[in-house]
């Protein structure tokens, strides 16, 4: 009986796994991305535009000798563009076996979230951007929108990006 309880507790514990999320801000909303996908956070640096690049690509940067494509996160999220300021950051992430940069308004902190603390996002969206919301979580009366970076771009777009 006790064994059964322990097994159940372990199973529940596994389901209620604690994950770390790097939070960033975009247009007054806070978003979270899985810390395991974040490589580093850079201050804003000159982004060189790439002629003929897709509309969601801002350009490229040179990261210690490596060329990294930077995505226009605001346009991807359907938000209006904003001026670059002191808090603007480029978050270098790894998704779909590619290293890319995403431009954000600011990076806030790393938070710990249990699986049970994550709610499903309202399922009313039909747009492409509705797909990359993994869930939402309420922390200190602030809503954290969790982003699935793998779905930030479609399969075709990831392929297109690889060939850039």
């Amino acid at each position: 009986m006790a064994d059964a309880k322990n097994v159940a507790a372990v199973a529940a514990g596994k389901d209620d796994e604690v994950l770390q999320w790097v939070t960033f801000r975009l247009d007054n909303e806070t978003y979270g991305i899985n810390v395991m996908q974040v490589q580093e956070v850079l201050r804003y640096t000159e982004i060189a535009p790439v002629p003929g690049a897709p509309h969601y690509v801002l350009g490229i940067i040179n990261l210690r000798g490596n060329v990294v494509t930077v995505i226009d996160t605001r346009s991807r999220f359907g938000l209006p563009s904003a001026e670059v300021d002191d808090s603007t950051r480029i978050v270098i992430i790894e998704a779909e076996k590619q290293v890319i940069g995403i431009l954000v308004d600011s990076v806030a902190e790393v938070v710990y979230l249990r699986g049970s603390e994550i709610d499903n996002a309202p399922n009313v969206g039909t747009e492409e951007s509705a797909k990359f919301i993994q869930g939402v979580s309420n922390r200190d009366n602030e809503l954290l929108i969790l982003v699935d970076l793998d779905k930030l771009l479609s399969d075709e777009e990831w392929m297109e990006l690889a060939q850039l």
């Binding site: 938000l79 996002a121 309202p122 009313v124 969206g125 951007s129 919301i133 939402v136 809503l143």
Partner: protein
């Protein structure tokens, strides 16, 4: 909001109230034809036209029949005419709510009149067939009766009585049908809102709230609560009417931009900017809430004070119109269903 917005709202609901009374053009034409055929009919036509400046749902086929039939038909058409509509400024209405009017005439008015006229015409056809049956018999008998005048008289007598019995039967059937049809146009609670009506007491409380100049009512039994707008988080990739998420009691409330949802055709950038949402009206125990600018009041009304909608049509979320306040009363369950499906106000369920 401004007076013009109030006028628009008034017109909007005037339209909703008057929808079932519209008539198909074919009927109007046929009625015109019939009007010239009989003096008595003319009188009746005037009387009906004077009532609200519109023509009535009289079936033209019967008007061409004998005077007895016309009288019977007048009796039939009366109950249908009885619903007086508030005076409408049609031009202003069309200008303000052109897309809505179009949709309404295409769907609800059409279906309402269609069902009424189709059924009415069916019985009229029956009446007609009775008469058609009777007429050749009369002719036949008349020809045969020339040499046999005595027989003719007897047969004519018989025919008259049998024809009148048939007519009476048909008329009685039609009167019955006309009574049923009257209920379909909103005099008694219709099928679509049946569930809601059953749920409500004869006298029930409603909360009136305002959104961009539009007043809406929600029955208190369907009200989940009222929350003050604090921090609504915008979530990307959602429809325009989806305002965002607000945390409420450790759960997320989906907040609807009520103006954008209820009247998307009027809700332009300018109007959207002028709207200042203060409260969220929660829908039953769902996680949906309608953003509103102000709460007007909560009053007790009678079921009979609401013009309940008979057809779900394009707006299943609208249970009816509160006559006195001239505002829409929400069918919260249908509304939740629509919102869960991510549908707009002019979409129909299923």
């Amino acid at each position: 909001m401004s007076n013009s917005a109030d006028d628009a709202v008034f017109d909007y609901f005037s339209l909703l109230l008057s929808e079932p009374e519209r008539e198909e053009p074919e009927q109007e034409e046929l009625q015109k034809e019939s009007a010239s055929s009989d003096e008595h009919e003319e009188k009746h036509g005037k009387a009906t036209a004077n009532q609200d400046g519109r023509t009535t749902r009289q079936a033209p086929a019967v008007q061409r029949q004998t005077q007895t039939q016309i009288q019977a038909q007048q009796a039939l058409s009366r109950p249908v005419i009885t619903q007086a509509a508030p005076p409408l400024n049609k031009l202003a209405l069309e200008q303000l709510l052109a897309p809505v009017t179009e949709i309404e005439t295409e769907t609800e008015t059409e279906t309402a009149t269609e069902t009424v006229t189709k059924q009415e015409l069916k019985t009229l056809e029956q009446v007609k067939s009775v008469i058609v049956e009777a007429k050749p018999a009369q002719v036949e008998i008349a020809t045969q009766a020339k040499p046999l005048s005595q027989v003719k008289e007897k047969i004519e007598e018989k025919l008259e009585t049998s024809a009148s019995i048939k007519q009476e039967e048909a008329v009685a059937e039609k009167v019955e049908l006309a009574t049923t049809l009257q209920t379909q146009t909103g005099a008694t609670p219709p099928g679509v809102t049946e569930q809601l009506i059953e749920q409500l007491d004869e006298e029930f409380q409603v909360l009136f709230f305002k959104v961009a100049g539009l007043t809406l009512a929600v029955p208190l039994v369907s009200l989940g609560g009222i929350v003050k707008v604090e921090r609504i988080n915008h979530i990307m990739g959602r429809p325009d009417w989806y305002l965002g998420v607000q945390t409420h009691r450790d759960s997320q409330l989906n907040v609807v931009d009520s103006g954008a949802w209820v009247m998307p055709e009027k809700y332009d950038e300018k109007l959207a900017q002028s709207v200042d949402y203060q409260y969220i009206v929660l829908l039953e125990n769902s996680n949906w809430g309608l953003a509103c600018e102000s709460l007007v009041n909560s009053v007790k009304i009678l079921k009979s004070e609401v013009n309940w909608r008979s057809k779900a049509g394009k707006r299943p979320w609208l249970a009816g119109v509160v006559k006195e306040q001239m505002c829409g009363i929400l069918h919260v369950q249908a509304l939740i269903e629509l919102l869960n499906l991510g549908l707009g106000s002019q979409d129909s369920i299923g």
